[in-house]
């Protein structure tokens, strides 16, 4: 029984959710054979004005999932499953229709700010073209809007800074500019792919505060992708734990520490460093995440799992509901 069909639409509450992803599969056809699946049946949904945090190790498919929402999975990737934005199916949507949504309804801030801005255009050019693409206003007005947006993300001296080229900005500034750019057209849904990984801790905190502030003022939904459970549980309403292209547990910040069910979640929590901890050595999850080309049979986590049963090696655990927004997929939960 494939896990993805165990409880179709299990965590989807149709009316309140603005974006719902169901059984998403992203595959890259290889030179030979049917290729590799890097996202393998991922389902989640996000409510209006809410923040969903997606956590997982490097390579588990977080960025690819985010890209598939915008239809930007790199060629030759193939998307299957369903992504519904306000009832509209995005999988298989015409490119022209996708373009209208991108940047206007759904925005994304990419993982690495240092390479995400075009080096040969200044900020004004890059900001204004976004506005002109989606809004029917003059370029003077658009320029004022662009300056306003920089002010909103706390860029000092925006009138002057807007003439800068990306190489003249620090990493934190670039990240702010990218956030400003994503917010230009007041999207209803913002995807942040590791918005703080490239930044130092103080700047990290500033940016997260800024995001929360803007979210509240605009009632925007946010998908926050990170491999840092600490950041995620600080600002999310719901948390999805991703492993090897699947969501293995959904929970919420108040429950995650004490009533997590999946052994992988447990491992993640135990590997968070604590300042006041006396222990010298951090606990880690032994082994490595599986290579998408050689997925283990049964539960993909079983080779690294300390609670492994015989069953785990053979059968994929189905998603088990705890309540409306909590679920896990494990044969032998914590």
């Amino acid at each position: 029984m494939p896990w993805t069909h165990a409880y179709p639409g299990a965590i989807i509450v149709p009316d309140s959710s603005i974006l719902s992803v169901k059984d998403l599969v992203v595959a890259f056809p290889g030179v030979s054979g049917e290729g590799v699946q890097v996202v393998r049946g991922c389902s989640f949904s996000i409510g209006r004005g809410k923040t969903l945090g997606i956590v997982g190790e490097s390579g588990c498919g977080k960025s690819i999932t985010a890209l598939s929402i915008l239809g930007l999975v790199p060629i030759p990737g193939i998307i299957q499953g369903s992504i519904k934005y306000q009832g509209q199916e995005l999988v298989g949507l015409e490119e022209k229709e996708c373009e209208k949504l991108r940047g206007a309804e759904i925005s994304i801030v990419f993982q690495d700010p240092s390479t995400a801005l075009n080096p040969v255009f200044n900020l004004e050019q890059q900001l204004v073209e976004t506005i002109l693409r989606h809004k029917n206003i003059g370029s003077r007005e658009a320029c004022d809007m662009a300056i306003e947006s920089l002010k909103q993300v706390d860029i000092p001296d925006p009138q002057k800074r807007i003439k800068d080229y990306p190489h003249q900005l620090s990493g934190g500034m670039k990240q702010r500019v990218l956030i400003a750019m994503a917010l230009l057209c007041d999207p209803s849904c913002l995807i942040l792919d590791e918005p703080t990984t490239a930044l130092d801790v103080t700047v990290q905190a500033q940016i997260l505060d800024l995001i929360e502030l803007i979210q509240r003022s605009k009632n925007m939904s946010i998908i926050l992708i990170s491999h840092d459970l600490g950041i995620i549980s600080e600002i999310s309403d719901e948390i999805a734990i991703m492993y090897a292209g699947r969501i293995v547990e959904t929970t919420c910040p108040s429950e995650i520490i004490n009533s997590h069910r999946h052994p992988y979640t447990k491992g993640l929590i135990e590997s968070i460093p604590k300042i006041d901890s006396k222990k010298k050595k951090l606990k880690t999850i032994s082994g490595f995440p599986p290579d998408p080309q050689e997925m283990p049979s049964g539960c993909p986590f079983h080779p690294r799992c300390t609670r492994r049963l015989e069953k785990c090696v053979k059968l994929m655990p189905p998603k088990t509901l705890v309540n409306d927004n909590m679920s896990y997929a494990c044969w032998n939960p914590v």
Binding site: G103, F110, L117, P119
Partner: protein, 322 residues
């Protein structure tokens, strides 16, 4: 910027000096010489008159003295007179240069005007049938010898179809035509030579552009541009192309000297009265002043082309400061 230009120009002087020394050395060290063509096989020439001729042209002096003499004349912008017909070198170049400038200018213009969009288009449709058709055409462009294509085209368009003039730059009755007729006459005469000389370059520039574009569209900022909802054309022709142009600018700089050099092969095939012919005749006639004149102008243009490329580079890429 101005400071940079002045510095670059000054830095070019030693290079120019080096180029003239080497060219001067090579042509004077080539076996044979102007006087030997005139006299070696001629039984009527006495050794005495041979020596007089050598003296007349300063060819009896040591090489370094000849060079110093030549440079001192050059500094007064005196390129000397041709050994072959005693005419001023500058005048000989002056009457050939416009034809070559016209032909190579148009050809280079065509190469970039068509080659770059063709490459972008090809990259946009990467791995589709359109891309493959363009790829096939460009490979044909590489591999078909252009002089052979020239002959085929002349046969087809001038002999069989009789649409275009076969060669030359204007018709015999050119002088009797109206201004518009004159213009049209030039256009007709230019079509074949420009197309043929642009052919190979077009293939390589479009191929080069395609390669650069495919490299650039993988970059993160292209994904950002798409994530903003920009149309595909804008993403490719504005965001990607401006980055992909950077290496192409270098090639534009390299193309500048070709602008005046002309091509001996094509100028011969199309009986085009340009620099290529002039240089060829000068080289085989040991016409030192003409060869050196062409070499100096070529060197100056090459250096200017390099500077131009650097300036264009800086204009296109804000990370480069001049």
């Amino acid at each position: 910027m101005l400071k940079y230009l002045i510095r670059r120009l000054l830095l070019s002087l030693p290079i120019l000096f080096g180029i003239t020394v080497i060219t001067f050395g090579i042509i004077h060290l080539t076996p044979g010489g102007f006087t030997s063509i005139q006299m070696d096989m001629n039984p009527n020439v006495s050794p005495d008159s041979a020596a007089r001729l050598q003296e007349l042209y300063d060819l009896d002096k040591p090489l370094y003295q000849q060079y110093v003499l030549w440079v001192s004349r050059l500094l007064r912008l005196d390129f000397g007179r041709s050994f072959l017909d005693q005419r001023l070198v500058i005048a000989k170049i002056g009457e050939r240069l416009p034809a070559t400038l016209l032909l190579s200018g148009l050809s280079i213009f065509m190469i970039f005007l068509l080659g770059i969009p063709l490459g972008v288009y090809s990259a946009m449709h990467h791995n589709t049938r359109r891309d493959r058709v363009i790829t096939m055409m460009t490979f044909a462009g590489y591999s078909i010898p252009a002089f052979w294509l020239a002959l085929l085209c002349m046969l087809l368009f001038s002999v069989i179809l009789d649409w275009l003039p076969m060669s030359g730059i204007r018709d015999i009755d050119h002088d009797f035509l109206s201004p518009l007729g004159k213009f049209w006459d030039y256009v007709l005469h230019l079509i074949l030579p420009v197309t043929i000389t642009a052919f190979g370059g077009l293939a390589s520039i479009s191929r080069y552009t395609r390669g650069n574009m495919l490299e650039v569209v993988r970059q993160d900022y292209i994904r950002t541009a798409r994530a903003k909802g920009l149309a595909k054309n804008r993403v490719y022709y504005v965001h990607a192309l401006k980055n992909a142009l950077l290496p192409i600018i270098t090639i534009i700089g390299l193309a500048i000297p070709g602008l005046i050099g002309g091509s001996f092969i094509f100028e011969t095939i199309f009986a085009w009265p340009g620099m290529g012919r002039l240089a060829y005749d000068a080289a085989f006639g040991f016409d030192y002043p003409t060869i050196m004149g062409i070499a100096v102008i070529g060197a100056v243009l090459t250096l200017l082309g390099n500077i131009l490329a650097d300036v264009l580079y800086a204009l296109n890429d804000p990370r480069i400061r001049l």
